[in-house]
């Protein structure tokens, strides 16, 4: 027992060191938010003394921060609903029908995985401008859903394929059409997979920066990542306040992660290995 502990000591030291490197930036930001900027420059590393809550309460008390959270949430949820609904239909057709052109079509979608979004950003912006979708949340939601299709379709198709064919036969005998089978049998059974792809879509949308940066020219629809960048520019002299803002902006993502860790990690590894 003690020999085992001794042998494991270097291992634990490594883990503690890496863990510290990961955690220190976050903890530093959290503590700095509880200082005044003046205190932060005198006492950058120690605990706050006194603990100043004004930065956090000030940000939470103003409406701006909540508007960003609301925008990010709305856009993320709408993106997830759209991409999952559309992908589920498509994946259903890929998984349960043998039709001419299926492989070509599927290859077309999977090719979408290889293209960095940045490649399409510029022409996409021109397209959205000509469609009048700038400064409109749809200008972010629709392209995000479109770029989320390949991964979502691949994951859902794999899942739908595992559902035994007998069920479909039984449903058909009961008078279910394809749509009825899809809606009443397949979707309820696929709930775990739907959860996984929804979580992926929400996180991707939540963290998107380039697209909202292009589409939202004024601050009505800004999302959190844009807001944080702007806030840093605006309050660059008030470092402690920016730290508080950063911490508050991280909370929703980290909270979501702690709730949906299994779906997120499962989805990412499934997506990566099946893509």
């Amino acid at each position: 027992m003690s020999r085992k502990t001794a042998r494991n000591l270097p291992l634990h030291l490594v883990l503690v060191a890496v863990g510290a490197a990961m955690a220190v930036p976050l903890i530093y930001a959290l503590l700095s938010g509880f200082k005044s900027t003046d205190q932060l420059s005198r006492n950058p590393i120690g605990l706050p003394d006194p603990w100043v809550t004004g930065n956090y309460t000030g940000i939470l008390g103003a409406g701006d921060f909540w508007r960003l959270v609301g925008n990010s949430t709305l856009i993320a949820v709408a993106t997830a609903v759209l991409v999952v609904a559309v992908s589920a239909l498509s994946a259903f057709s890929f998984a349960r029908f043998a039709f001419r052109g299926r492989e070509v079509l599927f290859t077309l979608f999977t090719m979408g995985l290889m293209f960095p979004f940045a490649v399409a950003a510029l022409p996409l912006f021109l397209l959205l401008r000509s469609m009048g979708l700038l400064d409109n949340p749809l200008g972010v939601i629709l392209p995000q859903a479109a770029f989320g299709l390949p991964m979502t379709i691949i994951i859902l198709r794999g899942f739908f394929r595992q559902i035994p064919g007998e069920l479909e036969e039984a449903a058909t005998l009961d008078g279910c059409g394809p749509l009825g089978f899809f809606w009443r049998v397949l979707l309820p059974m696929a709930r775990p997979a739907l959860g996984t792809v929804s979580v992926l879509a929400v996180v991707t949308s939540w963290n998107n920066f380039l697209l909202p940066l292009l589409v939202f020219t004024d601050n009505t629809w800004w999302t959190l990542p844009i807001g944080v960048q702007q806030y840093q520019g605006q309050y660059s002299a008030d470092t402690a306040r920016v730290f508080a803002y950063l911490v508050l902006a991280m909370v929703p993502a980290l909270a979501f992660y702690s709730v949906a860790e299994r779906q997120l990690v499962g989805g990412l590894t499934a997506g990566a290995t099946k893509g």
């Binding site: 930036p25 950058p44 057709s93 290889m114 960095p116 379709i153 069920l167 449903a171 990690v265």
Partner: protein, 332 residues
Amino acid sequence: MTSTFLPDKRTGTDVDLPPPSEDHARGRARRRARNWLTAVGFQVPALVLFIVLVLLPILFALYAAFFRWGGFGMPSDYVGVDNFTRLLDDPVFLGDLWRCLVLVLLSLALQLPFALAMAVLLNQKTRGRAVYRMLFFAPYVLSEAITGVLFSMIFAPDDGLADRVLGGVGLDGLGGEWFADPSMVMATLFLVMTWKYFGFHMMLYLAGLQSIPAELNEAALIDGAGPWQRFRNVTLPLLAPTLRISVFLSVIGAIQLFDLVWVVTQGGPDHHSETMAVTMFQYGFKRYQVGYASAISVVMFGISLVFALAYQRFVLRRDLEGATTTMRGDGK
């Protein structure tokens, strides 16, 4: 993915036999056509979304790259391949390519091996491994923009945490201007990228490691293989498909790197951290040289495409043939 398939309660009872079918050839053909229409009908929404918002923009960039164009009206000033030849003479763009290569090489040489080492450590039954796993992966869920702002403050010259700590322990010499120093900016960016992304690769490796049957390691142990031999001859070959995917994702990530750089340095100081996507953004959205920016998009697209196809052809294809995949499939 695990799930249990409960048979639907409604099925299996009250089965009405279908009416006897009259299978004339014409009826079958009509039914097949209807079947095709149903199947394709389900594809329509996805297809419309994908064509309009993914394929068309990429094709349009391909078209616009051959024009001198400010981005308003339709492109009309056709210039042939001028934009592309100009790219080859553009020191900033050539620098972008070089920096992309440097990031890829640094990832392959440092970030991914580090992620693998951590995955191997955390694959053992150590105390607190669930906590470490969660902690190492956590930065992945933060947006690059927020990560960028955080580290621009941590690496702020003199006042930031990094310089304060180094100064505090008497290592002032190691501190510096970080993002503001042309010779340090890429290394600092890479450090931040590793902080944010190694946990993701680690998670992929962990999933791969867990699908390796324990019997194989035990058999190697009985054969007298030491830890290094077991890692080299059992773990690594069986992990190869996962490693190849992770390398692929890492390269694609380096090609399109934008958010982090834009938030932290906007490509500076003096282009020393600029990436292809940043250069594209500068020309397309700041200087209104949309034709030229489109050419950059096209080159990024071309690099991704060639890389993806070549990778698929020469590297990933082996996974479809080799015994390792079969093994992994069984172990899942």
